[in-house]
Amino acid sequence: QGAQQDPSLCTAPDVSAEEMELIISNWPGYIDPRKNPNGTFQTFQSQTGISVAYTDDVNDNAEFYAKVRNQLGACEPINRDMMMLTDWMAARMIGLGWIQPIDKAKVPNLHANLIDPLRDKQWDPDLEFHAPWQSGLTGIAYNAAKTGEVKSFEELLSRADLKGRITLLSEMRDTMGFMLRVVGADPKSFTDAEWENAIDRLRKAVDDEHVRQFTGNEYMQDLAAGNILACEAWSGDVIQLQLDDPNIKFVAPEEGLSLWSDNMIVPNLAAHRANAEKWIDYYYEPAVAAKLASWVNYICPVKGAREEMEKIDPSLVDNELIFPSDELLANTFDFMPLTDQQQVKYEGDWSDVTGG
């Protein structure tokens, strides 16, 4: 009922064999330059003979959801074979039965090479529907040139000299995960009461105008321009910033880190599922993964890529934010899956506070 579908009933005949094509929607700048003849993209096309229509029109999970819900909810095509969405959104779509299963036999590399911390997700324990594309850490970034180290979220939200000079991320799970930790709750499983606590704590910070803005990636601009001194940040971006401003530092807050991934998923009525599986398997070859990682600088979800990286760009091999150590990952949390009422309620509260 509702917009839910049964993936097994809402399928299109797979025409991969006849037309060697593949249509992908991904986040912008999430792949090495496609024009580069020996980049991963061109190589895939030449190896497999599949021509890939690649659009980077995923700017935001919720926005993308709005873009496809009408179609998927009515079992209508969205003319895509694959898209990369963040855990919680992938989870929701899978829950809604909008996502086609991936044939285990066709993607050996995935099952072999996926790094352990990303396995056994509650919402898709044995990788039936999704395959992580890239992963990242959410933590704190600060400008060492302008302010002292910011060790914890607590500090970020209370330190006087930061008043009005910090931003938080505008995706609810990113920020609320930490807020729950700040009030001593566990994002993996928390009660409404704990949620209330966390949201109040945040509301207070907002009302004191301690928090300047809730942003997407704009925080990088502000951090670099000096409009803000510290902020909640994504690991990949910080690496980018560090390239020309070593003063920008990324810290794992005492509250912990949130580890997330954007996952390749295949929507209902996708016409080229087999080709999509080829794509997944290809990007789980360590060499390819390394090449990709060396460009996007996010956490590479593929075992053995680190070794490959030696050949490509040794400087990145020991970068914790690309190949995180186990101790770093030991202290990560992710956000519990929400029922749809919870979703509506929490997001509602959230947008009340953040102003959307």
Binding site: A3, M172, V211, A225, N227, V344, S351, G355
Partner: protein
């Protein structure tokens, strides 16, 4: 000027009307429907139509603040646009001579560059340690830790800037057709330029003023993106609320209800305004 009776009117209106009915009225109808769905619905459980008028009450209680703010910001922006726009339109219409068309296009040309880029530029200009802020700080117009970004000032400025052409073009269109000899006559009859302006030029340009203010106020009050990029949590406008209710919270009924209220509210204000201006016949 006399209005002709007869069916030709329908004929001329038909294409546009048809288009709007197909691609606006029908969607709008489904929007109204959505606003009456049971709020406990969701994509998982589906939505049922329970004529849940309570939705309206709820959103008003919940979001009256951003609503008022929107109207307020919209009004402010419209006001500033009117002042800036009138000067500009007047200059183009009466003073630009052979450069009319050029200036006219110059008004709009900046808006052929992407909105986002323009706004990024503004953020550069208004940056906390940009020269404008420094300047204002040295003048002590701004406090030492004062800033422009993420303040109502920035938001209204953004709105004013981005909707200026919507004011200038209609204004120009109607000022341009004023017979200059009438302004001369006013001068000849002891009206100094200021009085002459308010007694002759202004009333004759009313159609433009009306259109301009409508074109500016209506979208400005409904806008959210300026508030999001240049403002903070405390500057959010109702458009932004709707946006987040819709996309993030997926609370479609509330979003729809809020939209309907906003539209009806704005249109109501518009009509009142037009009556006030005593210019129904322009509608």
């Amino acid at each position: 000027m006399t209005r002709r009776k007869g069916s030709l009117g329908y004929l001329l209106l038909a294409p546009a009307a048809l288009w709007l009915v197909l691609f606006f009225v029908i969607p709008f109808y489904s929007l109204v429907a959505t606003s009456l769905f049971d709020p406990s619905g969701s994509d998982f459980r589906g939505y049922e139509m329970t004529y849940h008028w309570q939705n309206y009450v709820d959103v008003v209680e919940e979001y009256w603040e951003p609503m008022l703010r929107s109207l307020w910001y919209g009004a402010l922006a419209t006001f500033f646009c009117l002042i800036l726009g009138y000067v500009l339109a007047y200059a183009i219409a009466f003073k630009a001579g052979r450069w009319k068309n050029l200036m006219l296009v110059l008004v709009i040309a900046p808006f052929f560059t992407s909105f986002l880029v323009r706004t990024l530029s503004w953020k550069l200009i208004l940056a906390d340690d940009g020269w404008i802020v420094d300047f204002l700080q040295t003048l002590h117009i701004l406090g030492a830790d004062g800033r422009l970004l993420v303040t109502p000032v920035a938001v209204v400025l953004g709105l004013t800037y981005n909707f200026l052409p919507f004011m200038v073009l209609p204004l120009y269109a109607s000022i341009d057709k004023i017979d200059h000899r009438l302004i001369e006559a006013a001068g000849d009859l002891y009206a100094n330029p200021v009085v002459g302006f308010f007694k002759v030029t202004w009333p004759l340009s009313l159609p433009g003023v009306i259109s301009g203010t409508l074109l500016t106020f209506i979208p400005a009050a409904g806008d959210y993106i300026n508030a999001q990029l240049l403002g903070g949590p405390n500057q959010r406008m109702v458009g932004g609320v709707i946006q987040s209710l819709f996309t993030d919270a997926n609370d479609y009924p509330s979003a729809a209800a809020l939209s309907v209220i906003m539209m009806v509210g704005i249109i109501a204000m518009v009509l009142v305004y037009v009556r006030r201006a005593g210019t129904e016949e322009l509608l």
